[in-house]
């Protein structure tokens, strides 16, 4: 007797995809539960944490946002290694507005978000036609270029940076600002990518020539996606500036480029929730490992390798499958 493992959708998944979902609490709960988890955890439970862990959570959320921004670009097939470009530009715009013209964070953050997104899009517009490794290389180089530019010309405070900027009223305010931003980006981007517009974006990643043959200008769509991703990155930069009361060269640090990438790989790309989940595992983990001193990086690297080897599809894809599908043994013939 031969048996094989069968993998099928849960009945409740098939039912809740339909309008039928609205007629039963169980189906509604099934749909609502995964969406409610991040909202409840982020907004509900975080004020209960100690100030130290609140701080960790803030930086986690910053990396999560950058990872989401990276994921948005990957949806259109743009492999970016320059999330720090978005972070740094956002950080300097917000910092300069606050330092020279004394704008309140209430205005600097939105202006830096949109302005930073626009500026980054324009900067990367010439290389948008490049694919794969070339786009990645240019995004990697640009932040390093800006770093040296600031150092050499001593504009925007030079190596000292812009100090003494307006802080947030309290840690809890900062926490809620970044978490609301995170939730907006997460649900907003998921919505966009599942709409007809997102279909085009994913199509560009899949087969850009076929999208071109459909009469769509893929460079225009790519630019739009780049703007969305860069805006989110610039937002985190502006937020980080007011959090640290400082805008400077560390904004272009390589950390902001590499960490989101690692988070996306661990969490699973293309879902936005995956990279966010990845960031929420990796950043606190690196904090916990701090006690190990110099060995920290060794363990951290080891942990990353284990993750990538054991679950190459990413944690989120795995969880999603377990939630929607079940497996059972069936007889063949």
């Amino acid at each position: 007797m031969k048996r094989r493992k069968e993998r099928i959708d849960r009945g409740i998944k098939a039912r809740s995809e339909d309008i039928f979902a609205l007629t039963s609490y169980r189906e509604m709960l099934y749909l609502l539960f995964p969406r409610a988890v991040p909202v409840v955890i982020l907004l509900g439970l975080t004020p209960l944490l100690s100030p130290y862990w609140q701080e960790v959570l803030i930086s986690t959320a910053v990396y999560a946002l950058l990872a989401i921004s990276w994921d948005m670009l990957i949806c259109a097939g743009l492999v970016s290694l320059g999330q720090s470009l978005f972070y740094g530009i956002g950080s300097y715009i917000a910092g300069a507005l606050n330092y020279y013209w004394h704008w309140s964070p209430l205005f600097t953050i939105p202006v830096a978000t949109v302005g930073g997104g626009l500026l980054c899009t324009i900067l990367l517009l010439p290389v948008l036609r490049l694919r794969g490794i070339y786009f990645a290389m240019v995004t990697l180089v640009l932040p390093l270029m800006f770093l040296r530019l600031v150092e050499a010309t001593r504009i925007l405070g030079g190596t000292e940076g812009l100090t003494g900027l307006t802080p947030f009223p309290g840690q809890l305010t900062a926490l809620y600002v970044i978490q609301l931003g995170l939730l907006c980006a997460l649900f907003g981007f998921r919505r966009i990518i599942n709409s007809d517009y997102g279909l085009i974006v994913r199509g560009i990643n899949d087969n850009d020539r076929a999208v071109m043959s459909a009469g769509l200008n893929i460079h225009w769509y790519k630019a739009q996606v780049l703007f969305l991703g860069a805006s989110v990155g610039a937002f985190t930069g502006a937020f980080g500036t007011h959090l640290d009361m400082f805008a400077g060269m560390p904004g272009f640090a390589l950390d902001y480029s590499i960490m989101p990438l690692a988070a996306a790989v661990v969490g699973g790309t293309g879902t936005f929730a995956g990279p966010m989940l990845g960031a929420f595992i990796l950043v606190p983990l690196s904090e916990i490992l701090r006690a190990l001193g110099a060995l920290r990086i060794v363990f951290y690297g080891l942990f990353l390798v284990i993750f990538v080897v054991a679950l190459p599809e990413g944690i989120f894809h795995y969880l999603q499958r377990k939630y929607h599908q079940f497996e059972r043994w069936v007889e063949v013939e």
Partner: protein
């Protein structure tokens, strides 16, 4: 030479091949005829061992689960779990559908890459044979393979499979996308392969008309199931085959 016993292939819950058995005898040209989605390519991938590799990749990606049942015997040796490279060493070489070639290399380099496992003198000899078989290729020797037409690429793809010195050559839809003239040229080439080099050929095709006259034995696949078997002439006379594949 090659024996397939009760082969079943599942792609997740979809059954691609259902209880398929066949036999290829030394020196025969055997055809597997079927329409689209009949399971021809799955059969070819399974026989060449590519499916073993595909399964590992899908597991690592967490994608579709590929389940395999049944037995493949090559010269009375069970090769069901053998990897594709090992099967090439044993003499089973597949020429995949849609003529996959190395587009950045020229024709001569393509053929040399394909003969990596062979001795240098042997490779040159085989390349000479390929150029004899397809005289058109000889003139395109230093042309970049990516810039050639579909038919030329198909000839090159078959040539690459030949350089690996198969004893059993698997051809997956060799006539796909070729003009009737090109099809005749390829069919003649397949015939002379057996006559001159003594290579056993198993080919899958959906255009039955050019293929049926040259095959010794044919299997008709439908939705992964074997529906008809017989010699080439028997199949040509069969009214169902006539209706389905000749449009008579």
């Amino acid at each position: 030479m090659l024996k397939v016993n009760n082969l079943m292939v599942f792609f997740e819950n979809a059954l691609a091949l259902n209880d398929f058995s066949m036999e290829v005898k030394e020196g025969q040209i055997v055809g597997v005829i079927g329409s689209n989605s009949a399971g021809k390519t799955t059969l070819m991938n399974t026989l060449s061992g590519l499916i073993v590799d595909m399964r590992i990749k899908e597991i690592r990606r967490g994608g579709e689960r590929i389940t395999l049942y049944g037995k493949i015997l090559f010269r009375d040796e069970d090769i069901t779990a053998t990897g594709p490279s090992e099967r090439v060493r044993k003499g089973i070489v597949l020429c995949r559908e849609r003529h996959p070639i190395f587009p950045e290399s020229d024709v001569f380099e393509n053929l040399k890459i394909a003969g990596y496992l062979q001795k240098r003198s042997m490779v040159l000899e085989m390349i000479q044979y390929v150029f004899e078989l397809f005289p058109a290729l000889a003139q395109l020797k230093s042309r970049k393979a990516g810039f050639m037409s579909g038919g030329e690429q198909q000839m090159l793809a078959i040539g690459m499979a030949l350089v690996a010195r198969p004893t059993l050559l698997l051809l997956d839809e060799p006539l796909l996308g070729l003009s009737p003239m090109m099809q005749n040229l390829l069919v003649d080439a397949v015939k002379s392969l057996r006559a001159k080099a003594g290579i056993t050929v198993l080919l899958s095709e959906q255009f039955a008309r050019p293929v049926l006259p040259i095959i010794d034995f044919g299997y008709i696949l439908e939705n992964g199931m074997l529906t008809l078997t017989g010699t080439g002439e028997e199949l040509m006379e069969n009214p169902e085959v006539k209706a389905a594949y000749f449009g008579v």
